[in-house]
Structures are given as structure tokens and as C-alpha cells.
């Protein structure tokens, strides 16, 4: 059975599609090939433009074509004053919000591709000038465009493939699971993110792991040390198997390339306490500690490990390349 995908770009930057085009080093369509997927319409990939495209959407609304997966990329912009005029669907005199709301009723599954359509994302920052929201969330609150109680035709809530941009494989693997009929509600986390990636923390597999263990911290960009203490890294608090996967052919994601995790899979990431690139502290202690670790234990272990930090780790943490290689004491 063909699995029909309809993809719309709401108030997006187009980055989720750009990421999807790198999936498995050959692009989303090639990655989905074994699952008999058919793209009804995609703004970047389809030939149909103008009235031809509107006709495809209208056929879906009229029930003439089944949409198995409605994928939406980008925040839903409800403003100004609830009119949706900040994003009209070109050629139709209707808001994108209205189109999505109606099309979602016809879909077997609805997928929010990226943090914008999942939780509202970056357009919600700065007082949310466009009244942006996600499909079924507004920040961390259930609701959004479709409402807390919405379920698609298969009885599923909106499936949130969060991330800004998400790892391309999260997109294709979610769609593959759906096409194979193997994604159930139990396999979604509390914010409806597929658990195959959301059961991990971004911290897992971080290449700076040893620096974290010893609390040997970087204080400047390009230094090798852990970025949690000074540079705003939230990898111990954000879900995602980011650092267990290869990103664009390299080892891991953000920390491996030398910049902090900004928790882009989380609702509200767009408005951090303080600034993105600096750790918020109270009395010298980071405000955001590992997600499920008692604060007193964290403090005690941090103090202990700092006192045991090998010189190698301490020196390398403040350098942009390894200056002291690993060696037994009698070898050095």
C-alpha cells in the first residue's frame, strides 16, 4: 500500500527540509524508498505550482485522496489579531493556519517536523510578535493550533519530531515507522516525541565526556573542555540522541564542533534564562543541572571530581587541541 505524504511549510525557515535532504547521505526520498512512500506534494520537491498545487490540497479536503502523513514544518502564525494574515497560503486568500487545521482532520497521522511546528519554536521568542504556536503545543503547554484533545484519524496525537533542525534520520525514521505501521502511542514520550531518539539525552555520547566527568571546563570558544559550567551547554537536560549519531558525516553534533547544546529539542529553548552562550548561575552554581540528578549529589561529585582532575585533562580543557597526550605516569 502506498503511503501518501503531504508536506507543508508553515512559518518556517525551510531548514527541516534542507536537513531531510541529507538523510542517510542520499536524501529523504531515497531513504524512504523501501516503504512505498509517495509524496503528494512538497513545496521544495514537487513540480506542481500555483493552481495545480491548490488542486492537490483541495482533493485531500474533499476526501478524494487519502493523506497518510501530513507533515508540517514551521510555526503556525495566528496573528495579527487571530487573522492568520502573517502567513496566507499564496493563491488561496486563506491563512496557512486555516489550511493546516482543515487538512489535519483528513490525515491518518499528523507530524510536526521540527521544534517550530512541535512547540512554537524560535518565532515565539521576543514576546511572540506573530502569535506563533505549534500544532498541538504552545511552548510547554498542550493546546496550540489543533488543541489538547486532537487526535488524527489513527487516534494519535501530533507526533513531534523536535529539533532545530532535527537530525535528518529522526524525520525519515519516524516516517518509515509510520509507513510500516510500527509507531504506537506508547513509543512517544511525554511531549509526543518518538522515543527512539527522545529516550536519550543530548549528553549521551558527547565527545567531551571526560571533561564533563572531571568538571574541566572551557571558558573560550574552540577550547576542548566541557561547556556546561561556563558556556551554556544544556546537553544534560535536553533529549535527543544527537551525539550518538553522526551529523553530516562527522562524529557528533554541536559539542563535538565546539559550541554548546541550546536544547533545541525542548519547548521554550528560544527564550533561555540569560543568554544562549553563557551558563546562568546562582551563587556561582549553574541554574540548569542534569535533568534528574539531586542537586546536593551533583555538587558533591563535582567538587570531588574537580579535586581529582588529571593535569592532562585540565590542560587540554583550556586548549584548542590536545597538548598533553594520555600516558601512564611512568611513561610521561
Amino acid at each position: 500500500m502506498t503511503f501518501n505524504i503531504l508536506w507543508l511549510q508553515a512559518g518556517s525557515c525551510g531548514g527541516c527540509t534542507m536537513a531531510a535532504l541529507t538523510a542517510q547521505d542520499r536524501g529523504m526520498l531515497a531513504a524512504l524508498k523501501p516503504f512505498d512512500v509517495n509524496v503528494l506534494w512538497h513545496p521544495a520537491l514537487s513540480l506542481e505550482s500555483g493552481q495545480e498545487a491548490v488542486a492537490i490540497l483541495q482533493n485531500v479536503l474533499d476526501g478524494k485522496v487519502v493523506v497518510d502523513a501530513l507533515c508540517v514544518e514551521g510555526s503556525v502564525l495566528r496573528g495579527p489579531h487571530g487573522s492568520g494574515k502573517f502567513q496566507m497560503m499564496p493563491g488561496t486568500e486563506r491563512s496557512m493556519a486555516a489550511w493546516i487545521k482543515d487538512l489535519a482532520q483528513q490525515a491518518r497521522y499528523v507530524i510536526a517536523v521540527g521544534t517550530c511546528s512541535a512547540f512554537g519554536g524560535l518565532p515565539m521568542a521576543g514576546g511572540n510578535p506573530t502569535d506563533a504556536c505549534g500544532l498541538q503545543y504552545e511552548g510547554d503547554a498542550a493546546g496550540g493550533l489543533l488543541g489538547r484533545e486532537f487526535v488524527s484519524k489513527e487516534g494519535m496525537p501530533v507526533i513531534n519530531v523536535a529539533g532545530c533542525a532535527p537530525h535528518p534520520d529522526w524525520i525519515t525514521e519516524t516516517l518509515s515507522l509510520l509507513a510500516a505501521g510500527r509507531l504506537t502511542r506508547e513509543r512517544l514520550d511525554v511531549r509526543a516525541r518518538p522515543r527512539f531518539f527522545a529516550d536519550h539525552l543530548a549528553h549521551h555520547g558527547c565527545s567531551r565526556n571526560e571533561y564533563y566527568e572531571f568538571k574541566a571546563s572551557a571558558s573560550q570558544f574552540s577550547q576542548l573542555g566541557c561547556m556546561m559550567e561556563n558556556m551554556g551547554c544544556k546537553a544534560t537536560q535536553a533529549v535527543g540522541d544527537c551525539n550518538l549519531r553522526s551529523w553530516n558525516g562527522a562524529k557528533g553534533g554541536c559539542p563535538d564542533a565546539g559550541f554548546p547544546c541550546i536544547a533545541c529539542t525542548s519547548p521554550g529553548f528560544e527564550t533561555p534564562k540569560g543568554s544562549f552562550q553563557e551558563t546562568s548561575k546562582r551563587a556561582g552554581i549553574p541554574v540548569g543541572l542534569p535533568v534528574d540528578m539531586p542537586k546536593a549529589w551533583f555538587m558533591a561529585l563535582a567538587a570531588l571530581s574537580k579535586s581529582a582532575t588529571p593535569k592532562r585533562v585540565l590542560n587540554n580543557a583550556a586548549s584548542d587541541h590536545v597538548v598533553v597526550p594520555p600516558a601512564r605516569e611512568n611513561e610521561s
Binding site: 525557515c13 505550482s49 494574515k85 497560503m89 518565532p123 574552540s222 553530516n248
Partner: protein, 483 residues
């Protein structure tokens, strides 16, 4: 006179609607509607200065690194920071990778599929074009996506994830590559070169970048056709459809200069007005909101603001009209190569306007030049030299900064003012804001609006192919346009 509204206009990045007034089988007037507003300039206000590095790349998932580079250039200008030269090489590499990815994605996924439309099914080249370029199934596009993923490994190694990296900072690059990664980069670039030589051009990059005159280009197209190059196939289509007579724009072009380094820009900045070179002076820029759903009057980007006003009379887009001394300019690869004095592009355009053919040729020629430049940067990048200078000593509490860079689609400028460490002012003019601007208060059409005039259209075609060729020849990025 009949009016036709075309939208959603896809295979452009983002949202676009075009209104055409048609009479006697040609477009008399065109109006371009960028139909999305996201409010980034409002969102940036009041944020700590360096937060801009996390926010502005998310304007655009296609030109994400360009937005990073522009933000960082503006911040470095405001705080008098000079990036580490070795880091600048790395930044040029990831910026070059993104721009090259954009150029060829435009060619394979956005522009060429229109020639596989049924309207051309009786053309002698149709079967081959359909085989190579049909949307979703074209073999050329499939091969390109494999090559594109490999190319973006450059960003993987130097900048982690793409899009939306934070690897570009005012002090330089956040990741110092090791010896092994340097060699890995060069292997990737060898594969990229192979794709361009074997699949795109059917000849060497050196031969392409040395093209200097129209006859030499015609020879290269014939040779490419014989070697089954996609460049040659485009050349054959372009000749048959006379694409050089389609989409004639203004004869004024601008480039901010691309790929900066210690020796200046690889592609020089400037303005070309009717064949006469002029110096680039950002002080004479203005943005005119008179036909946009935005408040205010004509202003320089350091003075103007971007605030929505959905009831504005005479407005038909969310895009302002940027002007140089009150006049529209075309930006993009064709402008960049013309101003960089590339002889072939100078020969194709002369003192006149660009056209659909020249825009595409410039993009492909520039792609070859980018690969050669990337090979050079990769060879010069050092494993044990600093990629990022310490910026802690710089006064980052106040300053005014301007960041002028070239994205794949043309000139991108960020203007900001920081007070007490917080952003008090931020304005962005993106490439497609220049190209797809609406009319200004004097009624002058924007470059695309002008280029669409006199386009022949067929009454039977609700979305005329000719119009699609003209629009897509600019490689619009609407998400940047409307930020």
C-alpha cells in the same frame, strides 16, 4: 487586460505569490507578494548581543551559514574584533560548502524540473531532460543529493550540524580541526570536484573558470553535451527556448564582495550601473515600506524599523523595497561575477541587463570557482594554529556594527546597535529583499517585477512556464526575504 494570481509558487525557498496583469499575450505589470512575516527583527531587540548568533541563522535553513557570517561580521564590527585568520579559512570553507550546495540544489531541484513540464513534451531534448531533471524522479537530482550530502560533510567536520550551527563566532571558528580531519576535508573536496566535472560539466573545472567569451561558452556547451554533462543539456534547452531573451532585468547590479580573508574579498565588492563600475557605499542605502504591510517611511537600515501594519493602504507584500540612492539593483551570482570582472559574464551581459540564461550560467560558473577556492582554503588550513581569538578583552557593551556578506543568492546585510550589552536595533536586508522588492513610493518596480514585464504567456497555461523560468532564474529565498 486580465489579472492572474499565481500561488503557491513552489520550488523557491518559502512563500511567494505573483500577480500578473496580462494583455496581448504578454505580462504588462507584475506584483510580487512575499506572503509570510516572522518578526525576527522584533525578536532580536533586548537580547544579549551574542544571542544574535543563535537567532539569526534560524531566519533561513538554506542560507543559515550566510546569516551566521553576517551576524558575526556585524558583531565583530561593533566590538572591533578580528577573527583568527586560520579560523576565517574554516569559515570560508563552510560558507563555500553551503553556497555551492545552494547553487546546485537550485539547478537540479528547483530550476531545471520546469523544462520537464508536459508543455515541452514535443521538444527534441524533452526525453533526456525528463530523465535527468523530472521532479522527484530525475536521475540528475538523485545523483546531486548524494554529492550534496558528501559536500555537507565539510560542515559536519568544521561546524557540526547543518543547518543552524553556532560554529561561527566573532573570534573565528569554534572547532580546530586535527591533522586527520584536514586530510578528510580534502578527500571530500576531491569527490565534489569529481561530481562537478563528471556530472555537471563533463569537463574540467579549470576549463570552465577560464571561459571568457560567448564562442568559448558555446564550444564548452557542445563539449559538455557530447560528454553527457547537465551543463550542456541546459545550454541546449536555453538555445532552443532563447532564454537569453527572457527575464531582462535592470542594468544595475550590486555585490558586497564574497569570501573575506587577509587579502580582501575573493570576489570584489561594488556596483555596476549600465556597465560603469561604482564604489559600494552602504550609506546611500534605504528601505521603503510604502507597499509593504509595515509601518514607517523610507529610512536607512540603521534608522528604520520593521513593525507590522496589516492595514496599510497600497501594500501588497511583507517585503520592503531596498534601494541604492533610490534605485533598485539586482543581486546574486550574476551580479557577483560581473562585478568581480569575470570575462565571460561581462561578455554575456555587456552594458545591459541580465537574463534567465546569464543568471544560470553565472551560478554554474561560480560553482566551479567555489570548488577551486575551497581546495585552496583546505590546503592552507592549519591543524595547530588558533582558529579563534580570545574576545573576552573586547568591550562588548556598546557599539554599532554593519555586516555585509554575500549569500548564494546575493548581498546580505545586517545592521545593529548594542547598548549596555543588549541589542537595541537590528535590521536585515536579505538578497531576495533586493531582487523581489515591491514598488517604492515613486512607483518603481522591484527587479523581478521589472524582469517579468513583457514575458510572453500562453492563455491556456494558468501558471505559465515562461513566468516560472523568470522567477526561478533569480533563485529566490523568500524565508530570508521576510525574516
Amino acid at each position: 487586460m486580465t489579472r492572474r494570481i499565481i500561488g503557491p509558487f513552489n520550488r523557491v525557498e518559502g512563500d511567494l505569490e505573483i500577480t500578473l496583469d496580462i494583455d496581448g499575450g504578454v505580462v504588462r505589470e507584475a506584483r510580487v507578494n512575499a506572503s509570510l512575516y516572522r518578526g525576527f527583527e522584533q525578536i532580536l531587540l533586548g537580547r544579549p548581543a551574542l544571542d544574535a548568533i543563535s537567532i539569526t541563522p534560524r531566519i533561513c535553513g538554506i542560507c543559515s551559514v550566510s546569516q551566521s557570517v553576517a551576524t558575526v561580521a556585524a558583531l565583530a564590527d561593533a566590538f572591533a574584533i578580528k577573527p583568527a585568520p586560520n579560523g576565517q579559512l574554516g569559515i570560508n570553507l563552510i560558507h563555500g560548502a553551503e553556497n555551492l550546495a545552494d547553487h546546485l540544489t537550485h539547478f537540479y531541484l528547483f530550476f531545471m524540473p520546469d523544462f520537464a513540464r508536459p508543455v515541452y513534451s514535443n521538444k527534441p531534448w524533452f526525453a533526456e531532460v525528463e530523465r535527468r531533471f523530472a521532479a522527484k524522479t530525475g536521475l540528475g537530482a538523485q545523483a546531486w543529493l548524494v554529492a550534496r550530502a558528501r559536500l555537507l560533510h565539510v560542515t559536519g567536520i568544521l561546524a557540526g550540524k547543518w543547518p543552524h550551527t553556532l560554529a561561527v563566532q566573532p573570534g573565528g571558528l569554534t572547532h580546530a580541526p586535527d591533522d586527520g580531519e584536514l586530510m578528510h576535508l580534502r578527500s571530500i573536496l576531491a569527490d565534489v570536484r569529481d561530481f562537478l566535472q563528471n556530472t555537471v560539466f563533463g569537463t574540467t573545472l579549470e576549463r570552465i573558470v577560464e571561459l571568457d567569451r560567448r564562442p568559448a561558452l558555446d564550444d564548452a556547451i557542445e563539449a559538455s553535451l557530447a560528454a553527457a554533462g547537465d551543463f550542456g543539456l541546459f545550454g541546449a534547452v536555453a538555445r532552443d527556448l532563447s532564454l537569453e531573451n527572457l527575464g531582462l532585468g535592470y542594468d544595475r547590479f550590486m555585490s558586497f564582495g564574497a569570501y573575506h580573508g587577509e587579502g580582501g574579498a575573493l570576489f570584489a565588492p561594488g556596483i555596476m550601473d549600465g556597465g560603469a563600475p561604482l564604489a559600494l557605499d552602504p550609506n546611500v542605502f534605504s528601505e521603503d515600506p510604502s507597499h509593504a504591510w509595515l509601518m514607517g517611511d523610507v529610512a536607512h537600515p540603521l534608522d528604520g524599523e520593521t513593525l507590522p501594519y496589516a492595514d496599510r493602504v497600497d501594500a501588497y507584500t511583507w517585503c520592503k523595497a531596498p534601494r541604492v540612492e533610490g534605485r533598485p539593483v539586482e543581486v546574486g551570482a550574476v551580479a557577483r561575477q560581473l562585478i568581480a570582472d569575470q570575462p565571460l559574464i561581462r561578455d554575456l551581459i555587456g552594458k545591459g541587463p541580465a537574463n534567465v540564461f546569464a543568471r544560470v550560467i553565472a551560478r554554474l560558473l561560480e560553482s566551479a570557482r567555489i570548488v577551486l577556492a575551497m581546495e585552496d582554503w583546505a590546503a592552507r588550513l592549519q591543524a595547530h594554529a588558533s582558529v579563534c581569538v580570545e574576545t573576552g578583552g573586547a568591550d562588548q557593551t556598546s557599539g554599532i556594527g554593519v555586516g555585509l556578506v554575500e549569500a548564494a543568492r546575493g548581498s546580505l546585510g545586517h545592521w545593529l546597535r548594542v547598548e549596555n550589552g543588549l541589542i537595541q536595533h537590528y535590521q536585515i536586508i536579505a538578497p531576495t529583499t533586493w531582487n523581489f522588492s515591491p514598488r517604492d513610493k515613486h512607483g518603481q518596480p522591484g527587479p523581478l517585477e521589472f524582469a517579468l514585464q513583457n514575458t510572453p504567456v500562453d492563455d491556456d497555461e494558468p501558471t505559465p512556464a515562461s513566468v516560472q523560468h523568470v522567477v526561478r532564474s533569480f533563485d529566490p529565498c523568500m524565508v530570508c526575504t521576510v525574516h
